[in-house]
């Protein structure tokens, strides 16, 4: 039969695939295509934004309650998973042309998140992340703290595949203690041109205070930026990397709550030390290179 002999079909199909985007503007208006350029198109994540471009910018969110050292290791949320302690999550309203609002009822972490995404004219977009402690949140063992003071770490992950760059502005001043206000990234790629990404720090937020000297080294009311060289293929595996960045805030909480005795189980302590070590070796230069040869385990 004829169809058996055509083993080159896939290569041709892939050529068609890349040509397809070029064909569509003939049928659909440019405005129509542009309104669909950005979206939460990494829908395997609780919140992951990317453009409809093969290798480009990805922006995603991860978070965890960071008061209990043991629990936190299994409570980092990033990829959507079944039976992860969620009391339901998803979009309450959504239109791919304009955006919408998602609520995430994270019972396991004692917090409800609201993530909104809106497109803005001329290729701009915005996302808003709101956290509200759940009334059924468990109290941290051994404390009388109100659940209204639940401690949550949130990581916004800005990655780039393919050619281009994204750099944190003002990193020289902020490297030591972190950013006091907004964090602004400058970036450029061939498809997107030059752009900025701003992560705001509104005044209304509260941050944990540290009474321990370690708190002065890394104050928790500052925003930290960790920059890493990561090859394209490893970019999506970032979930397991988040844990390494938990080390600092965890240290601060733990020394605050248990200043004389860390009471970390021995094996966890080793894990903890290893992660601290990893972090201090992480690159802080804000270039992302597509040629990075290896993924540092």
């Amino acid at each position: 039969m004829v169809w058996k002999q055509c083993s080159a079909g896939a290569l041709i199909a892939s050529l068609y695939a890349t040509q397809a985007l070029a064909q569509e503007p003939e049928v659909f208006s440019r405005a129509s295509n542009e309104s669909l350029l950005w979206g939460p198109y990494k829908s395997n994540l609780y919140f992951g934004v990317r453009p409809r471009i093969p290798k480009s910018v990805t922006a995603s969110l991860a978070w965890a309650r960071v008061e209990d050292f043991v629990k936190v290791q299994n409570n980092v949320r990033h990829t959507c998973e079944q039976h992860e302690g969620m009391d339901g999550y998803g979009w309450d309203s959504y239109d791919p042309r304009t955006g919408g609002v998602q609520t995430i009822h994270d019972k396991g972490n004692g917090i409800d998140l609201e993530t909104s995404f809106v497109t803005i004219s001329d290729g701009a977009w915005a996302a808003r992340v709101k956290g509200t402690p759940r009334q059924d949140a468990e109290r941290m063992a051994g404390t009388q703290d109100s659940i209204d003071t639940i401690k949550t770490a949130v990581w916004f992950n800005l990655g780039l595949e393919g050619l281009g760059s994204i750099e944190a502005t003002g990193i020289d001043d902020a490297e030591e203690l972190g950013y006091e206000g907004d964090v602004v990234f400058d970036g450029q790629t061939n498809d997107l041109g030059e752009f900025t990404v701003t992560i705001t720090e509104p005044e209304g937020n509260s941050h944990p205070e540290s009474i321990h000297p370690a708190g002065q080294a890394k104050p928790l009311d500052r925003t930290l930026v960790h920059s890493l060289h990561v090859p394209d293929e490893a970019l999506w595996q970032i979930k397991r990397k988040y844990r390494s960045f938990l080390a600092y805030p965890l240290l601060l909480f733990l020394t605050r709550f248990h200043s004389s005795d860390l009471r970390i189980p021995e094996d966890h302590y080793r894990w903890f030390r290893r992660r601290i070590y990893c972090r201090e070796n992480a690159a802080t230069v804000a270039h992302v290179h597509y040629t990075e040869p290896s993924w540092p385990g």
Partner: protein, 543 residues
Amino acid sequence: MHLVEKVFEGAFEFDILFKPKSREMSFSSDFVTKQIETVKKNFDKKYQDVLKPQAPFTVSKYLEFSKSLFSNLIGGIGYFYGDQVVDRSYASEYDEENEGFWQEAADARARNAHKLEGPYELFTAVPSRPFFPRGFLWDEGFHLLPILDWDPELTMQILSSWFNLMDEDGWIGREQILGSEARSKVPAEFQVQYPHYANPPTLFMAIEGLLDKAENKDSANRNALADRDTVKAWLKSVYPLLQRHFDWYRRTQYGDVKSYDRPAFSTKEAYRWRGRTEQHILTSGLDDYPRAQPPHPGELHTDLISWMGLFSRNMGRISAFLGEDDDEAKYTKIAEAIRRNVDDLHWDAEAKTYCDATIDDYEESIHVCHKGYISIFPFMTGLLGPDHEHLGAILDLIGDKEELWSPHGIRSLSKQDEYYGTAENYWRSPVWMPLNYLIVKNLLVSLDSGFYKYLILIELQQDIAQQPGPQQQRATTMYTELRKNLVETVYESWRETGFAWEQYNPDTGAGQRTQHFTGWTSMIVKIMNFPDLAGKDSGHDEL
């Protein structure tokens, strides 16, 4: 890459603002606040116009439920890019032509001739964000039906993306596992795609819906962004791919009529799924639904010929719409031959239902009847016209509480079947929303399009008064009751668990298997949006 780390105490809020440098005007968080409000308001307004639940689901809880399911379907749309694992060995065993073919094919698969190819890109909705975050051909045609009501142009873009995956032969892989991130969610043995495997061509249901809108045959959506000219221009651009795809199905999934002297209107229009194993036909999408035992190369599959009926009918409509008269004649002829052959090859007069066929020990063609979704596939795919002689028998089967009817929707397999609820019990009793959607829809089509008149005619012939009679009343009641049962089932489970589910238990109505299955379970949105016909019966509850 950069990780921006913030640590909060209590409630918090922050924004992420992306601005191209070419855009001169910057924007603030206050602006974002206003924009979010505007977006929500416009969504609510458009929802009222396009997908609002109809009676008896007019209380606000159903509106919230409907918006949530629809938003998760359309908010689940993803963009995927990466390489794919494909076995392009085209081994002769994959023809599945010998007795014992499934063992030979298993041996051929075990040679592990698969390779990475691509990269490909795909813009698609997904069945489930946590468990199936990738494109599925069988699901996508259903996904696109509510999306089509919302945004026809978006639907065309997604369809284009799928059709652009097609290879030279006309094949599209049934599961699109593009890139290592997507593969990380799939066990290795399920990653390989085979270019002799088909899957239900559901994308043509979306094209049928699109044509309905372009030709003003669908009154549901008046806010379409695409008009007749756009649909025409788009169809013209993909038309060669659609033809290639259609030819691939006919060429590779043919069933054998001639060798077994099967009496039929056409010797060509019969179909058999390839990729069959002893217990499964994964390619059919109905995985473990009971089929002929043991498998035989002479099998004919009711669901596939029904899909091909839907496919050819729409190829006819598309070519007519594009003014391709010769093609229209060709496809219409095929569609007619399929319509005739469905009855000639698959109707079993004794069982009063449609059945698969196989070859017995005496080399005779016989029917294999397991009542369930398979038996009513010609009805679900719109092949039975309003005056079809077997429509009554199909309604009997659907409405029978001892067979398919359950208080939570139509069961996948009859309660009377020996395999009901057995083994994996995946398609052997549970209620599936996409198939129930097809039942509700075709009940509505029948009632809308002259089935009423036909029934009245019969009743007149039988000297029954011109008042709505028991047959007509039964069909209307069935539509009304089924719609209510389905909506209540999915709603109650959603309210209780916070999630939509892959399938529903016919006895308890509980959602089961995959959690947060916001793909085709969202067909309930369309079912709620269908018209209420309850006023048209006389209020009796029994079927």
